[in-house]
Amino acid sequence: MENAPPGSRPPETASMEPPGGGELSLAHHGKTGELYAISLINVLYRILTLGVYHFWAKTRVRKYVWSQTSLQGERFEYTGRALEMLIGYALAMGILIPLVLAWQFLVQVLLVGSPGLGGLVSLPVYLGFIYLAGFARYSSLRYMLSRTRWRGIRFGLVGSPWNFALATLGYTTLLGMTMGLYWPMMQIHLSGAILNNLYFGDSLRVRFQTGTGGLFRKFLLFWGGAALLYFGIMVFIVVLFRLTTTEDSSQGALPLLQMAVPMLAVAGAVTGFSALWLAYRAAELRFLAAATRLEPAAGPGGQPPLVQVAVDFSTWEYIKFKMTNNAAMVLSLGMAYPWVLTRTMHFACKHLRLQGDPDLDALAQSSAPPPRTGEGLAEAFDLGGI
């Protein structure tokens, strides 16, 4: 994995003057109705093929979403094939199923009388799952990027998925040990591990470089706020319970109040927690984007950037956007997905800013061979995504 070169301490956020003064235009042309048509056709084929069509369905949706998104007026292209995904899935299943069966046999049959030993055996298995999920995330991204073209030029992700898996495992362990406080550092390190390996053809590469302090301070605000909220709600419920039970509640004098108020409190807490989290996420996304630049692929790191990335949504805009998406998904039992996806693409294209004026006519095709199969493991772990 390629990382930022050692040397002078990088700035907290790499925001700088937009290179070249210009800006690249990004747009999404997709329509909800069209995506619903595709989804319905996909459901139909899935039913008729008893699910095998899944990979073709996914490919079809990607082809639509990619081809409806344009950079400088040129639409992206997805060239992945369903059969590649199906083969990847079959390979992943061929490895995963025997492993899971062996583990289950060990725990449920051989060690059935000793739950302690069963737990001990299961721990490395759970760690293994985290490791494999990291591997799956990286290799699925690598596959997807290698099948993404703009003006015929392929994207590419170099670096090793095994290293990324190890990093995921290590950072997740740290996350648990620090009661979640490691989250912003984990996000920065893992984003760097991906973005610093991301290339466009042979000419352009992404450079991600930042310190962690600024984001950590923002995370502390969220973490403290969430903890306060949690204890506040707990105290509220306990006080309420005391108040209502000291009166003659055995007669059921205040059953409605006793039932409804804690439920409202919990609903309020969930909403409050979500809002806090989304406020942090908005800051995190702005921070990560500001640390991301496009540079010429050749030569040493730290060259003047050709394009500076930024996202420009306000915290409130982001909270409103995500909460509407989530509410729509829950209330529609998931059937709002095409609407949510289209909306997300429009939102992303509107707020992702690519500042710079690079020469986009002279970029060379990638000389690296793309992976042959992909995403099987990601599918097995149900990592989602488009």
Partner: protein, 359 residues
């Protein structure tokens, strides 16, 4: 016919403006200065993605490597169709708003209906194919899992009495069977049959019984389900449905959860109306043949029906489609025997086997 567009050679990101002409066997790409860039034969030409209104047409060729041709005017698809005699799959352009969605939605509904109907039809035939040894193993597993740590009520005498009653009910049955009857230490008012001849009463229902004939009636009813292999059929139906919904929703992350739900399916889910009526009928036949009074199920159903508001006390036995009144009337007309199911001493032993009250 001539179109304008641009060409990517797949080597650089240059976007070369071009003229495209469609000839008899091939499509030819010219630079704006007239120089020939390439020819794509119709054979091997394909669309990179579905084309929707307002979207440029992106064409690739199997023999052209990474090169791509982009034409802004989507009418080229019709020209290609006329010239090359092949459909280019630009269905998205013909998609017309709500009407198109309605047609597609109807298709989904019809296809779902067909698959579910086929599943329902196939289940009885599939059930017959499940080997009895599998059923027995599955049944034992399910019953153990259900009882969990609470376990079963011990008491060999009570177990013998229940086996004896099951044996009497089986006498003269057309289908031979071998049943194991147990009482689980569970306060739920319920009884169920698992595959492989397992019948489980929960302690709650034993306490609820007011006569041994009520017990015999429920036992014969559950045994009838077992003899007709309804539990296995129900499992196949539920697994089939789960597979269907997973397939439809595109969830291929596995069916790992299904195994854990088998017990829940058997204990809590109701059988279909036909299965229930079939079990009622066979159950009463068994009681008649064994010479046991058949009004037990009637009195139990009537009593539990009156307590109907209490959902937790309402056994699965009641939570099924045949209407109460209809079911009770039917049962009343069929019972013909008048004998007792157990002696008062035997009844006492069964009632006490789980620490319940006598009488």
């Amino acid at each position: 016919m001539e179109y304008t567009g641009y060409y990517h050679d797949g080597q650089t990101s240059a976007r070369q403006p071009v003229r495209v002409t469609l000839e008899n066997t091939a499509l030819t790409v010219y630079a704006l200065d007239g120089g020939l860039i390439c020819r794509f034969s119709y054979q091997g030409l394909y669309l990179s993605e579905d084309v929707f209104p307002g979207q440029p047409v992106r064409l690739r060729h199997h023999e052209a490597g990474e090169a791509a041709l982009i034409v802004e005017d989507d009418r080229i698809l019709e020209t290609l169709h006329l010239r090359a005699g092949k459909s280019m799959g630009g269905w998205g352009r013909h998609f017309s708003g709500l009407r198109g969605l309605a047609v597609l939605l109807s298709g989904v509904v019809v296809a779902s209906g067909l698959v579910l109907w086929a599943l329902n039809m196939a289940v009885p035939h599939l059930t017959v194919l499940v080997p009895e040894s599998w059923e027995r193993q599955l049944g034992a597993l399910v019953v153990e899992q259900m009882a969990g740590e609470k376990g079963f009520c011990t008491g060999e005498e009570a177990a013998e009495i229940l086996s004896g009653l099951a044996g009497r009910l089986l006498e003269g049955a057309e289908t031979p069977g071998n049943f194991r009857v147990r009482i689980a230490r569970d306060p739920m008012v319920n009884a169920f049959a698992a595959p492989g001849g397992e019948v489980v009463f929960m302690k709650g229902i034993i306490d609820e019984f007011q006569s041994p004939e009520e017990l015999a009636a429920v036992l014969s009813h559950e045994m009838a389900h077992g003899l007709n292999r309804h539990p296995t059929g129900k499992l196949l139906r539920v697994i089939g449905l789960k597979l269907f919904f997973n397939a439809t929703l595109g969830d291929v992350s596995g069916l790992a959860g299904t195994a854990g739900q088998i017990t829940e399916v058997l204990v809590l889910n109701a059988y279909g109306r036909e299965d229930e009526l079939e079990a009622d009928l066979l159950g009463v036949e068994m009681l008649n043949r064994a010479g046991i009074r058949g009004d037990g199920l009637v009195t139990l159903l009537e009593r539990l029906g009156q307590q109907g508001g209490n959902a937790s006390g309402l056994p699965r036995l009641l939570a099924t489609h045949p209407g109460h009144g209809e079911r009770i009337d039917r049962l009343k007309g069929m019972a013909s025997a008048t004998g007792a199911a157990l002696t008062p001493e035997q009844w006492q032993l069964v009632r006490q086997s789980c620490g319940g009250g006598g009488g």
